[in-house]
Amino acid sequence: MSKADTAALIIGGGIAGLETALKLGQGGYTVILAEKESALGGNVAKLHSSFPRWEDPQELIKVKQAELKTLPSVRVLANTEITGLQRQSGGFTAHWTDRATQKSGSLPVQALIFATGFELFNASVYGEYGYGIYKNVVNSLEFEHLLGMYEQRAIHVPESIAFFKCVGSRDRSKGFPYCSKICCMYTAKQAGLVKKISPDTQCYVFYMDYRASGKEYEEFVRQVIEERKVRYVRGRPSKVVLENDKLLVRFEDTLIGVPMEASVDLIVLASAVVPRPETLALARMLGLKTDDYGFVEPVYGSPVRIEERIFMAGGCGFAIESLGAIAQGAAAAAEVTALFNKSE
C-alpha cells in the first residue's frame, strides 16, 4: 500500500484538527479535513490575545492555514458536515453533506480523528444571573467578540465589568460537577486585556479558587492582579438585579464573611465547557464509549487513541487550552502515522 491509498478523515477544522492535518500532510499522507462552518479555526479563531504570553491566536490560525494550503495531499472540505459513519474492513465509510450546496456523498477512509471541539453551557439556566434577559450579561465567547471591538476602538469599553467564574462548572445542582479547567486562565486574560486597552475600567473577577497550574500560569494571574489591577473577589455571585441601567451584583466576600454589592455595566459569564451534541451523535454511530457528559475518551496510556483507527484531539475530549489542543492534534497525527506504517 502506498501513502495515496490510505486516507485519514479529520472531523472538525479547529486548532486541533488543523494541527493533525498539517502534520499528516507534511508527512505526505492523504488527509480530508471536514469543517462544518465556512471558515477554519473554530473557537480559537474567535479569541483575542492568549495566556500566558499575550500572543495572538488569530495570527496563529492564519499561519497554520497558509501552511496547510501548500500541502498537496490535504483536502479541506469547508461547509461540510459528516452525517454518517460506518465501519468496514480496514476502515470506515463516511457520509458527508455540503451545507451550502446540499450536495452529499460518501468516501472511504482508513482512520478517523474526532476534532469536533466543545461549546459553552447555556447560562440561562441561572435565572439569578439574567443571561438571555439582560442584554449586558454575556458569556465568555460572546465577550471575545466585544474584546475585538474594544481593541479596534469600534465601541467604548464600559466603566466597570464583572467576570463570574464557575457558571455551570462545579455545580451539582444546575450544572456539572467538573471544573472546566480553562476559565480561570482565559478570565484572567480577558480582564487583563480590558485593563490594557482601558486602564480606568474597573474589573472584578469573582472566583472560588483560581486554578493556575501550568507553566507561567500563576505568574500570569499574579501579573493581572498586581500590575493590571484587576480586583479578584473570593465569592460566588448570587444575584444580579437591574438598577438604573447598571447591574447590581450581590455576593459574599468569603474572606471577611460579609455580604456585599457591586454595581457594574457588563457581566461576563465563564460558562462551563460542554461537549457538542454532534460529537455524541457521531460517537453513537460507531458505538464509541463516551463519559457521562458526552466527551469522547481515549484509552488509558494514550492521550488521543479512542480505539483501533479512531482518535481524538482537542475539546471534544474535555476542556483544553489552545496549546494543549495543538499538542493533542500532533499526537493524533503521530498515532495515525504509526498506524498507516504498520498497515503498509
Binding site: R172, S173, M208, G235, F251, E252, D253, T254
Partner: protein
C-alpha cells in the same frame, strides 16, 4: 466561642453534629464548596449574627453549643433562597429547622423567646385545628408575650381588608393531622 482569635484545633473527623445532620436529614455538609453563594443571596443576611455559609462552617467545626444559641436560627425567614442557589444542593433551611427544634428541646439560650413562642402557638393551633385561625393565634401570642396590643393596628388594617377573620373553621378531616404529629413526637423521642 469562635468570636475570639484564640488558636483552636479543628477535628480532622466529621464533627458529631455534622454526622447527626447527615444521618437524621440525609444532608452532607462535606459537599459545601465554601463559595458563599448562599450568603450572597440571603434575604436577611444583614440581620444575621452568623450568615448561612458560616453556619455550615460551624457545623463542620462541631460548634454545637454555638449553633443552638444562634440568633440567626430565629431571624431566618426560611425563604429557601440559599438552597435554591447552592451549587451543591445543601438544604440549609432544613438544617436551620433541625437546629431550631434541637434548641427548643434543649431549652438552650434562645435569643428570641417571642419567636420561639410564636412557633409553639402556631404548631399547637395546627395540631388541634388542622389549620391556623389567625385572629385567635394572634390573641394567644399577645397574651403569651404579655403585650395585648402588639400589632393591633396592623391587625385592624388586615381585618378591614377582609384578610383576617374572627373565626376559621377546623379542617374537615382532623384525623389526618394527628398521625403526623404522633409520628413527629415519636421521632423526637428517638433523637
Amino acid at each position: 466561642m469562635i468570636e475570639t482569635y484564640a488558636i483552636r484545633r479543628p477535628e480532622a473527623q466529621e464533627s458529631p453534629i455534622a454526622r447527626q445532620i447527615r444521618e437524621d436529614l440525609g444532608i452532607d455538609v462535606a459537599r459545601c464548596l465554601e463559595c458563599g453563594k448562599c450568603t450572597g443571596g440571603c434575604s436577611y443576611a444583614a440581620g444575621f449574627d452568623y450568615t448561612p455559609r458560616k453556619i455550615i462552617q460551624l457545623v463542620k467545626l462541631g460548634e454545637f453549643d454555638k449553633l443552638l444559641s444562634l440568633d440567626a436560627l430565629w431571624t431566618c425567614l426560611s425563604c429557601q433562597l440559599c438552597v435554591d442557589r447552592c451549587p451543591s444542593g445543601i438544604n440549609i433551611p432544613r438544617i436551620m429547622d433541625y437546629l431550631r427544634a434541637r434548641a427548643h428541646r434543649a431549652n438552650s439560650n434562645i435569643t428570641h423567646k417571642n419567636i420561639e413562642k410564636f412557633y409553639e402557638i402556631m404548631l399547637s393551633d395546627i395540631k388541634n385545628r388542622g389549620r391556623i385561625s389567625e385572629t385567635i393565634m394572634m390573641i394567644k401570642y399577645n397574651l403569651a408575650i404579655k403585650n395585648l396590643f402588639a400589632n393591633a393596628s396592623f391587625g385592624k388594617k388586615l381585618f378591614l381588608k377582609g384578610k383576617l377573620k374572627f373565626f376559621s373553621p377546623r379542617t374537615h378531616n382532623i384525623k389526618t393531622i394527628q398521625p403526623l404529629f404522633r409520628r413527629l413526637s415519636e421521632k423526637d423521642g428517638q433523637a
